[in-house]
């Protein structure tokens, strides 16, 4: 992405900017108007916090992991490892609330499953699948060398 510049310009950009900011101001006005239910300060913490937590914590951690993979993991394993990690990350995020949520007292039909076990099964399948792909790929590469 280095060396690529794109400074926005043109009527399409300015039109989008005007329309987009109008929509954002509409949203903000609605939010403030309904302050009794939206709790704007607490909302702001979660809204801006979402961007901040991503940019300052999650992204650096992911990039650190990426750099570590390049340092430590053998070249031919890396692509499979990355695929496995992408799939696992998605499963972990989606599973997180089902495991961390307290559930609803007196309502066993909410969150009725054993989610840690479900997550373990999914992760097992992901890494089994990634491992099988790796072995198959290694075999085809080796047979080509023969």
């Amino acid at each position: 992405m280095t060396g690529e510049r794109h400074v926005p310009s043109g009527s399409f950009f300015w039109l989008g900017l005007a329309a987009g900011w109008a929509l954002m101001l509409f949203g903000l006005a609605g939010l403030l108007d309904d302050a009794a239910r939206t709790h704007p300060v607490n909302f702001g913490v979660w809204f801006l916090g979402s961007a901040l937590v991503h940019d300052a914590l999650i992204a650096p951690a992911v990039f650190a992991l990426g750099f570590a993979i390049v340092r430590v993991v053998p070249v031919r394993v890396r692509p499979f490892l990355r695929t496995g990690l992408i799939l696992s990350a998605a499963a972990l995020v989606v599973a997180f609330p089902t495991i961390a949520a307290p559930g609803v007292p007196g309502n066993p039909s909410a969150l009725p499953r054993n989610y840690p076990a479900g997550l373990a099964v999914l992760l097992g399948l992901i890494w089994l699948g990634t491992g099988v792909m790796f072995v198959l790929k290694s075999l085809t590469v080796e047979s080509r060398h023969d």
Binding site: W21, G30, H54, A59, V73, P79, A110, Y115
Partner: protein, 395 residues
């Protein structure tokens, strides 16, 4: 004047150049996957999924808070089940897409020079509500389907207004990136060769698509019944709950356990009627019953089909001598709460399948499902299928 500011900006960045360290350095991020083309492809996928989420969410909002010009039909019976199921499923599928997109464009956060002119500054400033809003919407939505509220705000209101803010930021972003995106997608650029041990763009995008598919399969069983055994992470199972399907609001939390089981319970029909009615459960059971197969489709994206039996609202209105084209407010025994009332617009009130339901799947309603009587009609959100019915007010 504008030129002066830009010249000053240039001078500022030149002076700050020695501090251009770490992620700000020219070649801090080496993976060819951080390319504009990858960002463009993921951007299209996210744009489509956010549009689907926004439109289906807006629809659900309009159905629950209808302005004068909006009249939600009672047919097709399963439409809301589809639109709201799509809202939740698309939001979940967007999680890996958003993660991949943010990873791809993360190096641009450290763009140098950070700001070149006013247009550039406004475009970059609009990225804050775009990123904050996108993450906020997906995180709050995902928490909501697990009924987990670790914040002070009321989820539907905050999620709704955040959606407008985010869509506004998305419109700005499309205005800024639309032309370059379409140019990149039209150009038949070859997939750049991956670095040794690196991932090709194709396998990166395939992995992300695979992740989206995986989380969809892992949750969609809460509304697509044949998938329910596969959906290990679905927060609901359409086959689990009293009488074989889930409950959202329990009788205990609605504080109706006593009033709903009181033998003195009566259903009142009043308002703009010739003869107000006060009917006991036995009176209702003595009336002609109608049986319908209808889904209960929750705002949280789960749904379950059941066989309902009871008295059509239409018959009760006729008995009470209400005028044609009547609208009805259904009130619950629930003493408090935003969902203690629901509106039956004239189409829903006149639909022969809109019932005051007394039985489900061949048994009297379980207390958790609204005993002694509840509204059950086609094409309505679950929260508007008012449980523990007390009153029908005709207007």
């Amino acid at each position: 004047m504008v030129r002066r500011v830009e010249q000053n900006l240039d001078r500022l960045w030149t002076r700050l150049a020695p501090f251009r360290r770490g992620p700000f350095k020219q070649d801090a991020f080496t993976s060819p996957l951080h390319s504009r083309k990858t960002a463009a492809i993921l951007g299209i996928a996210l744009g489509v999924s956010f549009t689907v989420c926004f439109l289906t969410g807006l629809l659900s909002h309009l159905i629950q808070h209808p302005p004068g010009w909006f009249l939600w039909p009672s047919r097709p019976a399963g439409l809301y089940r589809v639109t709201q199921g799509l809202h939740v499923a698309t939001g979940i599928a967007a999680i890996p897409l958003l993660g991949a997109k943010l990873w791809t464009v993360f190096p641009r956060l450290f763009l140098w020079p950070p700001v070149e002119n006013a247009a550039h500054a406004l475009e970059r400033l609009s990225l804050l509500p775009l990123v904050g809003g996108s993450v906020f919407l997906l995180v709050s939505g995902l928490n909501n389907i697990a009924l987990w509220y670790p914040w002070e705000f009321f989820f539907p209101a905050a999620h709704y207004w955040a959606a407008w803010i985010t869509v506004g930021a998305l419109v700005v972003h499309v205005g800024a990136k639309g032309s370059i995106t379409s140019a990149l997608l039209r150009r038949q650029l070859p997939d750049p060769p991956a670095a040794p041990g690196g991932m090709s763009r194709r396998s990166f995008l395939a992995s992300v698509a695979g992740a989206a598919g995986l989380v969809t399969l892992a949750t969609a069983g809460q509304t697509v019944r044949p998938l329910r055994r596969l959906s290990l992470l679905a927060p609901r199972d359409p086959g689990v709950g009293p009488q074989g399907f889930p409950v959202n609001k329990t009788a205990r939390s609605a504080v109706v356990t006593q009033s709903a089981t009181d033998p003195q319970w009566r259903l009142i029909v009043e308002g703009r009627v010739g003869r107000p009615l006060s009917l006991s459960l036995a009176d209702l059971r003595a009336m002609e019953q109608r049986e319908v197969i209808l889904p209960i489709a929750c705002v949280e994206g789960w749904s379950a089909t059941a066989r309902w039996r009871g008295v059509p609202v239409q018959d009760l209105l006729a008995l009470a001598g209400s005028p044609e084209q009547a609208e009805v407010t259904a009130e619950s025994l629930q003493p408090r709460g935003l969902y203690r009332k629901s509106e039956l617009n004239r189409l829903h009130a006149a639909d022969a399948d809109t019932l005051v339901a007394l039985e489900v799947n061949g048994e009297p309603l379980h207390l958790e499902h609204g005993y002694p009587a509840r509204i059950m009609g086609p094409n309505r959100p679950g929260v508007m299928q008012t449980k523990w019915l007390a009153k029908l007010v005709v207007s």
